[in-house]
């Protein structure tokens, strides 16, 4: 977690955004992130992000649920306290299918949502910097991360050339912290410039 220097550029049309992303990647700039108000299919691929394996995690959670339900009921009804219910066998598998099924779904869903929140660092009271509040409205915000060697004026010119609007340099915290959105917070008392370029 640290404050870094970014070049931030706004786009308003998907048809300009995609060639711009392509151009930025070709030029070799490091895309920190693209902030969009709604999912745009293919943008992750265009940015070179790898596929998420969240669904695999969901599958594993689901199987865990099946196993837990099956083994627990089996243990409870055959070993721990076998109950004679209307002369049915103690190991009454067909009768357990509904609960095993429900717990499979429950484990998969809860596990996936929690993993999703963990991966995306989402939780109540979490605050993050994002570069333009309009990125949850109608603006696609492309953020380029600057290193020590980056000439930001060059990046600004380049992005403007690709159709970016209001291209500017911003210093932002990259991580999350416990905070509130109703006031401006300073994580560091130092001058930002000196933190970024010591």
């Amino acid at each position: 977690m640290a404050i870094k220097k970014f070049v931030v550029s706004n786009f308003y049309d998907e048809q300009i955004l995609f060639p711009a992303i392509k151009g930025v990647r070709k030029q070799g700039y490091k895309i920190h992130d693209v902030y969009i108000p709604f999912p745009i299919h293919g943008l992750d691929a265009a940015m070179g992000l790898r596929d998420t394996s969240l669904h695999t995690a969901g599958f594993i959670y689901g199987i865990t649920g099946t196993t837990v339900a099956f083994s627990f009921i089996t243990w409870a009804f055959t070993t721990d306290w076998p109950l004679n219910i209307g002369g049915k066998p103690f190991f009454a598998l067909p009768a357990w299918i509904p609960i095993i099924f429900e717990l499979t779904i429950l484990f998969a869903a809860v596990g996936m949502v929690m993993t999703f929140c963990y991966l995306c660092q989402l939780a109540p009271f979490v605050k993050k910097d994002h570069f333009n509040p309009r990125s949850t409205d109608d603006t696609f915000v492309v953020v380029i991360e600057c290193s020590d060697k980056t000439n930001e004026n060059e990046v600004i010119d380049f992005l403007t050339g690709l159709g970016g609007a209001d291209v500017e340099v911003q210093y932002r915290e990259t991580g999350w912290w416990i905070g509130s959105y109703d006031k401006e917070q300073k994580l560091y008392d130092h001058n930002v410039e000196t933190l970024v370029n010591p």
Partner: protein, 480 residues
């Protein structure tokens, strides 16, 4: 145009008017950000009053016992379980719309899914009250959970459909809530970033979990929605199947039929869509969202109503036929004497059910009727009355005269506290819905934006010349 998916002009636009992304945000956030109208306050206060009456009715039941209700040894399930099944059924439309229609790639779900999911959650909350308070000693309700206890530990009966129900309903509630809220996160972030007042920024800041709209997060969000939809689809079908097992696995005439699971699921979707219609017809009018919840949406939902209503109708006739064909005299007695006989004590309820559920929805075969708001509203109420009577018929007419004439019950009618409990859940439901409509976006903002360039009215218009050109080209190439 490579980026944009092309959609035929034959399909009516899902978003009417001249919209862009920002305008969508404005339109949907307006009711949330503005002041509550007088109408809202009136509705809200009536709901709270009903809720309080319900709380008092429940207080009486908890303090003095279940004899506050008119249940007896023979009719052990009455209004309470009728209401339970009715509310659970209503709670099926939301997940159906958001999960099954997502898998089927039905674009029109985007206009109605958020409100329908909210309705689902509130309806399941209402449903849960009935079995819990029907237990009588509600402070022992946690006995239904399989926890290590000092009574052995004596485990709960995993072979019992009633316990399956506990798991089904609680899983359904949890998963629906997660599905709904994870979908809400981006829209709450939109509200947070637009907020001017301090409390708003703070409230939506907490509620939005720090959502930023990062592409990677969206990618995971899409994956999550898809898998949750895949999980919810069998889940929603299983829940009412299991509710029907409460009846179908017993030996009561009129209950132990194998047709129950599909028949209950169809009935649930039927009543759920009716409730969605009731709510959305009012919501779109009051919040001025006619351009997002269009006549087209209402038309499509009415088609679902006539389809599921007809499935329910066939199920009624099938069970009637099977009761006769099976030649079991108890079974036939339940249908011929307790139900179909108009002059038997509860015959009237059977015919109300038939009229409301089977006959009246047939009006929706006519396009004009499907697109008539007044007719739709009236029908949606009628269907829900009919579906309430369906559960009443199943429960009470089967129980009150069973195998042993000496245990036949006298006429069962509810006490004021039974009715009060039911009205109280209405209060709970509408209180929640009014709060939802005031503080949350009733339409999924991000999802509407997602389909705008494909299904938005103004974008479709731009496509018209392209389509005509293509058709001409095609005709030209194939006629020479």
């Amino acid at each position: 145009m490579a980026l944009l998916k092309y959609e035929s002009q034959v399909r009516a636009p899902l978003v009417e008017g001249n919209k862009d992304y920002h305008q969508i945000t404005e339109d949907i956030c307006r009711p949330v950000e503005g002041r509550a109208s007088t109408l809202w306050w009136i509705g809200f206060l009536i709901s709270v009053a009903l809720l309080l009456f319900g709380v008092y009715s429940v207080y009486r039941e908890v303090t003095y016992g279940t004899h506050q209700w008119n249940l007896n040894k023979t009719i052990g399930w009455g209004w309470d379980i009728t209401n339970f099944v009715w509310w659970v059924g209503i709670g099926h439309a939301g997940t159906l719309i958001s999960a099954i229609l997502l898998l089927f790639r039905q674009g029109w779900r985007t206009g109605v899914n958020r409100a329908a999911e909210a309705m689902t959650i509130f309806a399941v909350m209402c449903a849960g009250q009935f079995p819990i308070f029907h237990m009588g000693r509600v402070w022992n309700a946690f006995f239904v959970l399989p926890y290590p206890n000092t009574r052995g530990p004596l485990w709960v009966n995993f072979d019992s459909p009633l316990l399956w129900d506990v798991f089904a309903i609680s899983t359904y509630f949890t998963v629906s809530l997660l599905f709904w809220y994870s979908g809400l996160l981006p829209d709450l972030a939109t509200l947070r970033d637009r907020a001017r007042e301090k409390w708003r920024k703070s409230f939506y800041g907490v509620a939005a979990f720090g959502w930023t709209g990062s592409t990677k997060h969206w990618q995971r969000h899409e994956s999550l929605s898809l898998v949750l939809a895949g999980l919810s689809t069998p889940l929603v079908l299983s829940v009412h199947t299991i509710v029907s097992f409460d009846f179908a696995t017993s030996v009561i005439p009129g209950w132990h039929t194998t047709i129950f699971p599909p028949y209950f699921v169809a009935g649930a979707i039927f009543s759920g869509f009716a409730m969605v219609q009731t709510l959305l017809l009012v919501t779109r009018k009051v919040l001025h969202l006619e351009e997002y919840i269009t006549i087209e949406h209402i038309d499509v939902m009415n088609k679902v109503i006539v389809l599921t209503g007809s499935i329910v109708g066939i199920a009624y006739l099938t069970e009637l036929f099977m009761a006769w064909y099976s030649a079991v005299k108890y079974e036939w007695f339940a249908f011929e004497q307790n139900r179909a006989n108009l002059f038997s004590p509860y015959g009237w309820s059977y015919w109300i059910m038939m009229g409301c559920n089977v006959v009246s929805p047939q009006i929706f075969w006519f396009r004009k009727m499907r697109r008539n708001l007044l007719v739709t509203f009236f029908m949606s109420i009628l269907v829900n009355i009919g579906m309430w009577f369906e559960r009443f018929v199943i429960i009470v007419t089967s129980l009150y005269r069973d195998y042993l004439p000496s245990s036949w019950s006298t006429y069962y009618s509810p006490t004021i506290w039974e009715v009060g409990f039911y009205l109280g859940t209405f209060g709970l439901f509408f209180t929640c819905f009014f709060l939802f409509a005031k503080f949350f976006p009733v339409i999924a903002i991000a999802e509407i934006k997602h389909i705008l360039k494909k299904s938005g009215g103004n974008y479709k218009e731009q496509m018209t010349p392209v389509e005509e050109e293509k058709v001409e080209e095609f005709a030209h190439a194939h006629t020479h």
